[in-house]
Each structure stands twice: as structure tokens, then as C-alpha cells.
């Protein structure tokens, strides 16, 4: 019954999306942000005057962050190999999704995000193109790249670029998982160093989450990773293939599962406090009887979309205390949009050279602490909490200063003021475009 509603709703959104996309022909545009009173203005906005700016930057490339829009520009780079749940649909098809992402970047974070779907075949080619694009941007958001290619690309770009590289499917999801987990444990009264966590599914998000959880003080020995091949442990048959093709997951086999538990994936539930599932869409991927084998007050994150691995009511019936999903129509939506606009606002405001796990942990705590009295039904904020974004931004910006990555320093309060002002100005400008009918009204649905 619920599935049917969900299908109907999805079909409705599909129709709207197609109709509106045809009507608007793109979701963002470039508008001037400087006054052009007459054509003489181009003598300083363009040639000959602009040569002086160019000469200045040529002598001091870092000044490109102050004399051009680079400071607030982010490239959303994808090769279109793993777009939403659609798979490898190619870069042209990915463009529509990247435009949507750019819209969220701008609307929630005041960031000028540019969709850049690229036609590359190998990871080396992708890295080479991304590096070539660096001079135009203050940060890279990598998006919808197949695993394990995405790990190689992110790691290499983080090493080689002097601007932050973020892969939202890894880092964004991992950060919001951590934020939700911090509050879920507060609700059930369990401590981070004691919590026994199962990461169910070993795709990009859960592999990144495992590394982030350890950076946040969770004990590797208390974490178990399970996937379609069973529980991950150093003697599993596929270890050598992982060593070659997915060294990040290979490394986790050594660092996690202290008791060296073996067996099918459901064995991982026994004695666990928390299940974080980013696995095959449900509703029968997680069986209620598995939850019964968990410790008291189980916490279940069933994050598969569009259908969670187990319906929340089914998990509740067998004793789950806190249940989170990836959906907005249930309580506790684990949603990347709560994290990436604020993170990018922060790294851009600090003109950061990079982003790391320590900074992500700060961002996660900021989100968790934003919820004053977490409850079973409210462990994370919702997207409507506008105050969240400048708050996350200022915590992130300050963390980049503490990590020695910032080009520009300020206090947390100072960064908060900057972020809030940028986001508000952007929102006001947008409102004016909307109110002045520069942005056309939505067409009627037939």
C-alpha cells in the first residue's frame, strides 16, 4: 500500500520534472553582479583595464581568490557512471542531475556551483581533466562516480589539488550518518567508544563512513562491515581482489571486526547496537528477526532509496528505538543536503586548501548539536532549518584554520557572520528575481 503511494508520488514527480525541465531549459544561469551603467563600463570590467588585474594575478596566482569569482565557485564534476540509482547513464544525462545539485548549492549555501559532466573513460583521464580545471574554482564536488573508481579519484585529487575535493556520495553521506549517529546514541544513552556498529553494505558511503567513524572516536574493533559476500574479515576469499581493486575496503578488513567474526551478513546483527545500512533497496533486505538478535535499544539506519531496507514500522515492531531512512516522508531523514551546502560555504569562506576527516567530524557535531533535545523522532535537523547552514559553515571554516588549511583566518563568529551574509544576500537576490517575474512562474500541470 505504502509502496503504491510511493510509486504514484514518484510518477507524479517524474512528470513534473520532465515538463518543467522542458519549460525552463536549465536550472541556473549566469547574471552580472557588477553595475553596467553604459558600455564604457567594459573598459574596466573588460579590456583594457582588466589587463591590470590579470597581470596582478599572474604575479600572485593566490590573488585569483580575491580578484575574481573563484572564491565562491565550485565545479560539480561527474563522469556519469553512477547517476542516482540509474547507473552508468553517461555525462549528458548526468547534466540534469548536476544542475539540480547546483541549485541546492546555491539556494542553501549561496555557492556558485557549475555542473561539469565530463566524457572520460579512465580514472587517470578524469584526474587529469579535473586538475586542468582547478584554476577556475575554489572547490570540487565530485558526484555520481562509480565505485571503486571514486576512491582513487578523490584520494588523488585531495593529494594533488590546492583546493578542497569532496565526493558527496562518500564524504557527504558519511558526515550526515555520523551526525545522526551521535544523536541516536545520545537518545539511547550509549557511549561512542562502547558502541558496536554494523555497516551493512560496503559501497562508497559505508566505506567512507567506517573511516569517518574511526576518526570520530568509534573503535575499529567494534565496527563490523557486512556485504553480499558476508562479514568482512582479513581471511575472506576476496581479500586479494580487494587489495588490487578496492584498497580502502581491504584496509578496513584489517582495522575493523576485532573479534574476527565470520559468516553471512545477517550474523553481523548479533550483539550490535547500531545498524547503518546502505545496501540493496528493500523492503525485505533487512529481516525483522535479525533486529531481534541485536543489543537492547537497537538503532537502525535503513538508507536505501527509494525503498528502505526495512520499513520503519516493521523495525519498530521488533524493538528498534531509533530509525532513520533516506526519505523525507519518515522522521529522521539522513540527507546529504544538510551537510554539503554548509561545508562548501565554510571551505570557500576560509579559502581552504583542502578538507579532511577532522573537519568533517566538526561538521557532523555541529549538525548533531543543532538539534537541542534529540528524540527518537528527531536526531537530525531538517532542510528548513536555515540557521543550520551558516552554523555548519562557520564550524568548518574555523576547523580549516585549526588544521592549517585556510588561506584566510577568522574566528568562528567572524566566519558565521560572513556565511550568513552571503547566504542571505543570495536568497534576497533570488527572491527579487522571483518576485519581479524574471524567473518565470511554474507552468500549469495538465
Amino acid at each position: 500500500m505504502v509502496l503504491q503511494n510511493d510509486q504514484e508520488r514518484t510518477e507524479h514527480f517524474n512528470k513534473m520534472s520532465l515538463k518543467f525541465s522542458e519549460f525552463y531549459k536549465g536550472k541556473t544561469m549566469i547574471l552580472p553582479k557588477v553595475p553596467i551603467r553604459d558600455l564604457g563600463a567594459f573598459s574596466y570590467w573588460y579590456t583594457p583595464g582588466i589587463a591590470a588585474v590579470s597581470t596582478h594575478i599572474s604575479k600572485d596566482p593566490e590573488s585569483s581568490f580575491e580578484l575574481t569569482g573563484r572564491w565562491n565557485s565550485v565545479a560539480i564534476v561527474t563522469d556519469g557512471t553512477r547517476v542516482l540509482g540509474l547507473g552508468n547513464v553517461g555525462p549528458e544525462a548526468a547534466m540534469a542531475v548536476m544542475e539540480g545539485k547546483a541549485l541546492i548549492f546555491n539556494y542553501l549555501g549561496g555557492v556558485n556551483a557549475v555542473p561539469v559532466p565530463i566524457r572520460t573513460r579512465t580514472k587517470e583521464e578524469f584526474i587529469s581533466v579535473a586538475k586542468a580545471l582547478e584554476p577556475a574554482f575554489g572547490g570540487f564536488n565530485l558526484e555520481d562516480i562509480e565505485s571503486p573508481k571514486c576512491f582513487f579519484i578523490l584520494e588523488q585529487l585531495q593529494k594533488e589539488l590546492s583546493i578542497p575535493a569532496w565526493h558527496d556520495d562518500q564524504l557527504g553521506t558519511a558526515s550526515i550518518i555520523l551526525a545522526g549517529l551521535i544523536n541516536a546514541l545520545r537518545v539511547v544513552g550509549k557511549k561512542i567508544p562502547d558502541a558496536r556498529i554494523v555497516l551493512f553494505g560496503s559501497g562508497a558511503a559505508n566505506v567512507a563512513a567506517a573511516h569517518l567513524l574511526m576518526a570520530a572516536g568509534f573503535k575499529g574493533s567494534n565496527i563490523i562491515i557486512a556485504d553480499s559476500k558476508g562479514i568482512l574479515h582479513p581471511e575472506r576469499e576476496d581479500m586479494d581482489a580487494l587489495m588490487l581493486n578496492n584498497p580502502w575496503k581491504y584496509k578496513l578488513a584489517m582495522l575493523t571486526n576485532g573479534e574476527r567474526r565470520k559468516g553471512p551478513s545477517e550474523e553481523s546483527f548479533k550483539g550490535a547496537d547500531v545498524i547503518i545500512s546502505a545496501a540493496r533497496p528493500g523492503p525485505d533486505t533487512i529481516k525483522p528477526e535479525w533486529i531481534k538478535t541485536m543489543n537492547s535499544d537497537p538503532v537502525i539506519f535503513a538508507l536505501a532509496n527509494p525503498v528502505p531496507e526495512i520499513w520503519p514500522h516493521e523495525a519498530r515492531e521488533v524493538g528498534a528505538r531509533v530509525i532513520a531512512t533516506g526519505r523525507g516522508d519518515f522522521p529522521n531523514q539522513i540527507n546529504n543536503s544538510l551537510i554539503f551546502p554548509g561545508v562548501f560555504r565554510g571551505v570557500l569562506d576560509a579559502r581552504s586548501r583542502g578538507v579532511n576527516f577532522k573537519i568533517m567530524v566538526k561538521a557532523s557535531y555541529e549538525i548533531a548539536n543543532f538539534v537541542e533535545d534529540p528524540t527518537e523522532e528527531r536526531i537530525v535537523p531538517t532542510m528548513e532549518n536555515w540557521e543550520l547552514y551558516p552554523q555548519v559553515a562557520s564550524a568548518v571554516a574555523r576547523a580549516t584554520v585549526d588544521e592549517g588549511l585556510a588561506r584566510r583566518t577568522n574566528s568562528t563568529e567572524g566566519f558565521y557572520k560572513i556565511a550568513r551574509e552571503i547566504i542571505e544576500e543570495n536568497r534576497n537576490a533570488y527572491r527579487k528575481l522571483l518576485d519581479g517575474n524574471v524567473i518565470k512562474k511554474l507552468p500549469e500541470m495538465n
Partner: protein, 160 residues
Amino acid sequence: MDFKLELGKLEENDIEKVLDLVLRLKKLNQEFDSIFEVNEDSREDAIKLLKGIAADRECYFAQVAKSKGKIAGVIVAEFRKRVFYLPPMEARILEIYIMPEFRRSSVGQLLVDSLYTECKKRNIDLVTAEFPSLNVIALNFYKKMGYREIVSVYGKQIKK
């Protein structure tokens, strides 16, 4: 390394477990080159082969490293005559495999060193190793220990 290792000769009661390690090595070779597709029905023959190696200590050197009774790694080498060349004998490493948990802890070096000790006893001063050309992990392992390429084996599959 934060584990204690014991080295010892391959004994008959270790053969089943050692075979698992050897098969892992063969599957790793398969990852690099499909010409080394592992024959899943080979277990019985492989056990016979390992039993022969364990029994023939004159011609073979088969050593296992154990940690708390668990096999951490294995090396198998064959002592060969070089009829046309000098020096007249060589020790050829045929298999070496370390379980993932025990890697990056010099277990491989320890096993190779145990072969060197045996070679000294036998007055053999040439050690060679064979592995698939595309297995870059093996290639790097031996290069790091000062080995260089001395023989090439070329292959081609012909139509049946």
C-alpha cells in the same frame, strides 16, 4: 609486528591449510592475467603435489610461518641443477604467499631469509623466483629485494 611468528617445515597435517594459501596465490595471479584461470577441480591433484613436496626435503624447501597456530605465510622452493651453467645449482621460489593480516610486517622477507639459510647450508648461491609477468605485486616484492629479470617465458593460446 605485534604478533609472534614460528617458522617450521611444511608438515602433512598443515597441507590442507597451506593449499588454501597457495590457491589464494593462484587466484591472485588470475586477477592479473586470465591465462592463469584457476582450475576449481584441481584440489585433489594439488594436495598430492604438496604432499610430494613436503615429503621430498632433498629437492624442495617448504616452510610455513605460524602465529598462534594459524598459518600466516608459506614459501615453497625447488633446488634445481643447472646443467649448462655456473653456478651449478639454484633454488627456485615457486610459491610465496602471506595472509592479508600479516602483510607489511616483513613476514615475506623472513620466509625468504629462511630459504637463504637453507641455501647456505647446501652451498647454493643462486636464488630465482617464478611468477606471472603481470603480477606487479610479486614483481615489486622481488625487485625490492634486489632480484632482476633473468628469464622470459612467452605464451600464446592457439585455436583448438
